[in-house]
Symmetry: C2
Subunit: 234 residues, 2 copies
DNA sequence: TTATCTATTTTTGGATCCAAAGTACAGTGC
DNA sequence: GCACTGTACTTTGGATCCAAAAATAGATAA
């Protein structure tokens, strides 16, 4: 009753990640069902999905608790993504870029250059970057052909702060965020270069390093010296 | 009715991987429910879990189909495991081996040496190797501390032919399988050496290469020149 | 003869009901 | 006063029921 008809899994995921339930807290079916205005059945289904995604954890033979993520876990998730996207990039470089993919990646980079060419960042730019960044990363993964790597990345991305577009946060320091995005843009260009030249190892390593951008690159520009937000809202 | 009380997910996973349902085939709730002697509810729950694991795939807005895996998919899954276990090994090497872990790994290697020391392979040896191999790999992953990498590997392992102990098959050519296992044993020793010395990059690369052993090493010993079993029955 | 529209049937998704397992609380005995 | 046990309540898991959506088959018209 209380909201739109987005899938229960999505809504519950959001509910958890926005702090509706604290990490480590027990999460009950009935309460969630009431909160989402549905019966217990879809909630139970969603619990299983979220368990597999790693957001929920089976409590001692009895129900689920919200999984808590340490700094270490977030780092691991980022490194996992780096490893997997690196793998995808290497495979793509080794097999050669299909023209369509080449086009798509070039398009992303062109749009990125446009976006950052004016030398500063506006409010809407963040969303635009996020979108093209997403497209860039997805294009590389999808070009792998097989869904196996993509699925692995997808599952990992459900963990908090693991996905590729959990970068820009501090919209009060847009000037410094600009520098970070510019560096990201340059890394995209380098990855693209390596992919075009068939430099598999280089593409892989660039992609792996690129994964750290949301986690370790803030320090370069005086941003978030110690990021301590672990789960949930920006 | 028709079987023991193992979890529905496990039984259904086995049912699928043993060819009860063909890859690409639509899988219906009612039929599975009847086959397993349970109601539709637990089957629906299991479907969601298996969907996340990648064994099932949503048919366009209507039910599920059994996912089909190409040779390419199997290769991808193996490479994903290599990338992730490599990551785990690197982290472990960089952080140093805790004495307990060192002990456990050394134990695995000692048992492996014992097993292969006699120069040939007996029937029960395969199960023994499988068990110690499992222990070795798990120990490295678990020593990472964070569950994130372990979960990612675990999920990947549910894909057919992806897990670390899908190696030995041909029990009619035990002599040649012996050579493969011996090479695996040597690789374990090298990984252990690298871990002890804190050689992160080496440990990672060794582990990545080691992942191929179930897929590409048969050719060295005149085994399975073209493995074409993909999903399910031999 | 074929294509399209409609009706029936099949099947999934959601809600409710029932049983079983676990937990908490209270009472009693040592 | 503390511990143990029994009972009641909470909560999950499984089964059944109902509705809605899609597929299939049939019929009619072009």
């Amino acid at each position: 009753m209380s909201s739109d008809d987005k899938s229960v899994v999505t809504r519950l995921r959001k509910l958890i990640s926005e702090g509706g339930y604290q990490p480590g807290e027990r999460i009950g079916e009935v309460r969630v069902a009431e909160q989402l205005g549905v019966s217990r059945t879809p909630v139970r289904l969603a619990f299983r999905t979220l368990e597999q995604e790693g957001l929920l954890q089976r409590a001692n033979k009895r129900g689920f608790v919200v999984r808590e993520f340490s700094q270490e876990d977030v780092l691991c998730a980022v490194e996992v993504r780096g490893a997997l996207e690196g793998l995808a990039a290497r495979r793509l470089a080794e097999r050669g870029l299909a023209p369509a993919v080449r086009e798509q990646l070039a398009g992303c980079i062109a749009r990125g250059g446009e976006l950052l060419g004016k030398g500063y960042l506006e409010e809407g730019d963040i969303a635009r970057w996020s979108e093209l960044n997403e497209t860039f990363h997805c294009a590389i993964v999808e070009a792998t052909g097989s869904r196996v790597i993509g699925d692995a990345i997808q599952r990992n991305n459900h963990l908090p702060f693991a996905s590729a577009d959990s970068i820009v946060i501090d919209s009060a320091a847009l000037d410094r965020e600009y520098q970070k995005l510019y560096l990201a843009h340059q890394q995209h260009q380098l990855v693209f270069q390596a992919l075009q030249r068939g430099e598999g190892a280089r593409a892989e390593m660039l992609m792996r390093e690129h994964a750290y951008i949301g986690l370790r690159y803030g320090a370069l520009f005086g941003l978030d010296p110690e990021p301590d937000a672990v789960q949930g809202d920006p």
